[in-house]
């Protein structure tokens, strides 16, 4: 029987799952994930986690509990820096420790430290360290990682076409057809940027399926993942100091990019209650929107009590406002 490696379906799942999944399955393991986010998962997480933590961290604890009897190992990499420049927020850095300290009777946790600030060689070392749990053969490990990287590239190109992470994973796994967003563009009369961290905007439960709801309202949705690195870097000069947090840097620059291009009618910043870095991200996006006359800005804060009706009402009101404004203009 193959080894079962468990990956909680939140946080970095929405960014790196295809990479790890392909890597582990190539090495003969079976990858199991927790159930989709649901009320019981959130409640279990809220109950266990240290009470000041942000919603995403509470969710992670909930998902870990859901998964604990289904896997032989938990894979919770300690994400420090993946591009050698930016780092993750303190809670990502301490995530394996938080989970270990808080939850009892968990399977063994694989928590390799991924810190590529130390150089390219570090990646090779980390990959070997992760793979060595399954096989000691370096050749096998590197060929598996090569395949995983190619697979991961396809995932990212699906994201850049406009798929959500969930849709992209479905397409890769053959459960869904690839969508053609270009053909629908003509019918949509509004264009809105939805900016927020992947584990919030792509989790259908947490974001109350915001992206699909907007599409149903005939809105074209753009995200930070649809921009190239060059487009993001081009915005650097507008910042006195670039945000050192990986996702925050991406969100701020994406916001600045869309403001500059002026193609959007509105920008929705989706944030989780208790998110530390967003104290700055939200303010920078807000200040950036103030000088744009024809771009409206709204912040939607998600917390563990978020009811679908509340968020949907505000979304619809925002869209109505944008359409009214367009009519008057």
């Amino acid at each position: 029987m193959s080894v079962k490696i468990g990956i909680p379906k939140t946080l970095s799942y929405y960014v790196y799952y295809p990479l790890w999944k392909k890597f582990f399955t190539e090495l003969g393991a079976e990858v199991v994930v927790s159930d989709n986010t649901s009320r019981p998962i959130i409640d279990a997480g809220v109950k266990e986690t240290v009470n000041d933590a942000c919603v995403p961290i509470k969710l992670f604890h909930g998902h870990s509990l859901d998964l604990k009897d289904k896997a032989d190992y938990f894979f919770i990499p300690r994400l420090v820096s993946v591009d050698g420049e930016h780092i993750y927020c303190p809670k990502f850095l301490g995530l394996p420790d938080m989970v270990k300290n808080t939850l009892k009777d968990l399977p063994e946790i694989l928590a390799p430290r991924i810190d590529l600030r130390k150089g390219k060689l570090e990646l090779i070392k980390v990959v070997y360290k992760i793979g060595s749990v399954l096989t000691k053969n370096p050749l096998k490990i590197y060929s598996a990682f090569k395949k995983a990287k190619a697979y991961f590239k396809r995932f990212n190109s699906l994201l850049s076409e406009g798929h959500t992470a969930v849709e992209a994973i479905d397409v890769l796994e053959g459960n869904e057809e690839r969508k053609d967003f270009d053909s629908q563009e003509q019918e949509r009369d509004l264009k809105i940027a939805v900016l927020g961290y992947p584990y919030i905007i792509y989790d259908p439960y947490v974001s109350v399926n915001m992206i699909q709801k907007l599409r149903d309202l005939n809105v074209e949705v753009v995200t930070a993942d649809m921009l190239t690195d060059e487009e993001l870097t081009a915005q650097s000069h507008k910042l006195f100091k670039e945000p050192f947090w990986t996702f925050s840097d991406q969100v701020v620059k994406a916001g600045y990019h869309y403001y500059q291009e002026g193609e959007i009618d509105g920008l929705i910043h989706v944030t989780a209650f208790g998110c530390g870095p967003d104290f700055m991200v939200g303010k920078l996006l807000n200040l950036g929107a103030e000088v744009e006359d024809d771009i409206s800005f709204i912040t939607l804060t998600i917390d563990e009590h978020t009811g679908e009706a509340g968020i949907v009402t505000r979304l619809e009101a925002f869209i109505d406002m944008l359409r009214l404004r367009r009519k008057r203009a």
Partner: protein, 353 residues
């Protein structure tokens, strides 16, 4: 151009010494007050931490008084402090103030670059000399603080406060190394003489947590003084001079290694801010039989301290030393804090008695 900086504990004395020696024009911001806090709360994002609100409020007060530049330390994160400068700048510009921004990043080039721009006549030798005196002052002040927290339980607070004010005045006005050392020796003796005979069996508590909250009495509602007045000996794990040594110099690395080792079973990585230190120091206090309890101070929403807090419950269970986590924000009240401290001390007394 007159430059301003945010108040934090007694940092103003070494900073002013540095500015004076280098002939940098500065404007001292008013001490932190309810007004600074209210201004900060009004203009800072709601979700920002208490230190940011105080820093922003203090900057506004200084700009109102005519400051033309703001100076603050930066950092590479992941603690939010590293972005205080940039966010303050954006908010203050939006409020219509006109000023320059200087963010000191943790690199020699950044420090020298900024001082070179600000100082009238700049030389590396002069910088070194002034830095040495400022550094000495910081060390002397914090050394005295440490002693007064330890003896505070046996002192009348009015006497020790008067002595401390006197000490700080003398330290600020002198800039001669020998003279400074002499002042320190005399005042240490004076303080020791003030202390009444030590009653037996008084409690001893270690303070850990976020550095800003620990250093600034306005942010922590003078928690150390309150504990002293309740007859508790206090040891603060974190001092600015100690932190600088541990993170920049060679001297402190041994100490740092000790903390990393102590924290190992609970937290295995730096999580920014003082997260790792909080866990490590709590373990060290818990292992030390002289200490009865530990208090963790953190501003609401402080990311590194939240990670640390998740480990402290485990530390408490395994090492059997009570830990009280206090979260502070703009709504914290003195009465609320006092009640919790008294309850904690009752608990410790019952446990040790």
């Amino acid at each position: 151009m007159s430059i301003t900086f945010p108040q934090m504990g007694c940092l103003d004395i070494p900073l002013k010494s540095l500015f004076k020696d280098l002939k940098i024009d500065y404007l001292e911001p008013p001490p932190l007050s309810k007004r600074s806090l209210n201004l900060g709360v009004k203009h800072a994002p709601e979700a920002s931490c208490l230190p940011f609100k105080l820093v922003l409020g203090n900057f506004i007060e200084a700009l109102e008084l005519g400051a033309e530049g703001i100076l603050i330390a930066g950092g590479n994160g992941p603690c939010r402090f590293g972005h205080f400068g940039q966010l303050s700048q954006k908010i203050l510009l939006d409020l219509g103030y006109d000023f320059e921004t200087y963010i000191i990043e943790p690199s020699l080039r950044s420090i020298i670059g900024i001082i070179d721009t600000l100082a009238v006549d700049f030389s590396l030798l002069k910088l070194l000399k002034s830095l040495r005196i400022a550094w000495l002052k910081l060390n002397l002040i914090e050394d005295f603080n440490q002693l007064s927290l330890q003896l505070g339980a046996y002192l009348s607070s009015t006497d020790s406060l008067a002595l401390k004010d006197n000490y700080l005045d003398l330290i600020s006005s002198s800039s001669d190394k020998k003279e400074l050392m002499r002042i320190q020796r005399t005042f240490r003796l004076k303080l020791k003489k003030l202390a009444t005979k030590q009653p037996k069996g008084s409690l001893k508590i270690g303070l850990v947590g976020d550095i800003y909250t620990l250093l600034e009495p306005f942010a922590n509602l003078s928690i150390a003084k309150r504990l002293n007045e309740l007859g508790v000996e206090v040891d603060r794990a974190i001092y600015l001079s100690k932190w600088v040594k541990a993170n920049l110099g060679v001297l402190g690395t041994i100490n740092k290694q000790k903390i990393i080792k102590a924290a190992k079973g609970y937290l295995q990585a730096e999580v920014g801010g003082l997260g790792l230190e909080t866990v490590g120091e709590t373990v060290l206090y818990s292992r030390n039989s002289h200490y009865d309890g530990v208090i963790q101070l953190a501003p609401l929403g402080c990311m590194p301290e939240i990670v640390a807090k998740s480990a402290l419950t485990q530390v408490e269970n395994e090492l059997n030393t009570p830990v009280l986590s206090l979260t502070l924000d703009e709504h914290s009240s003195a009465a609320g804090l006092q009640t919790r401290l008294e309850a904690f001390i009752d608990l410790l007394n019952r446990k040790s008695g």
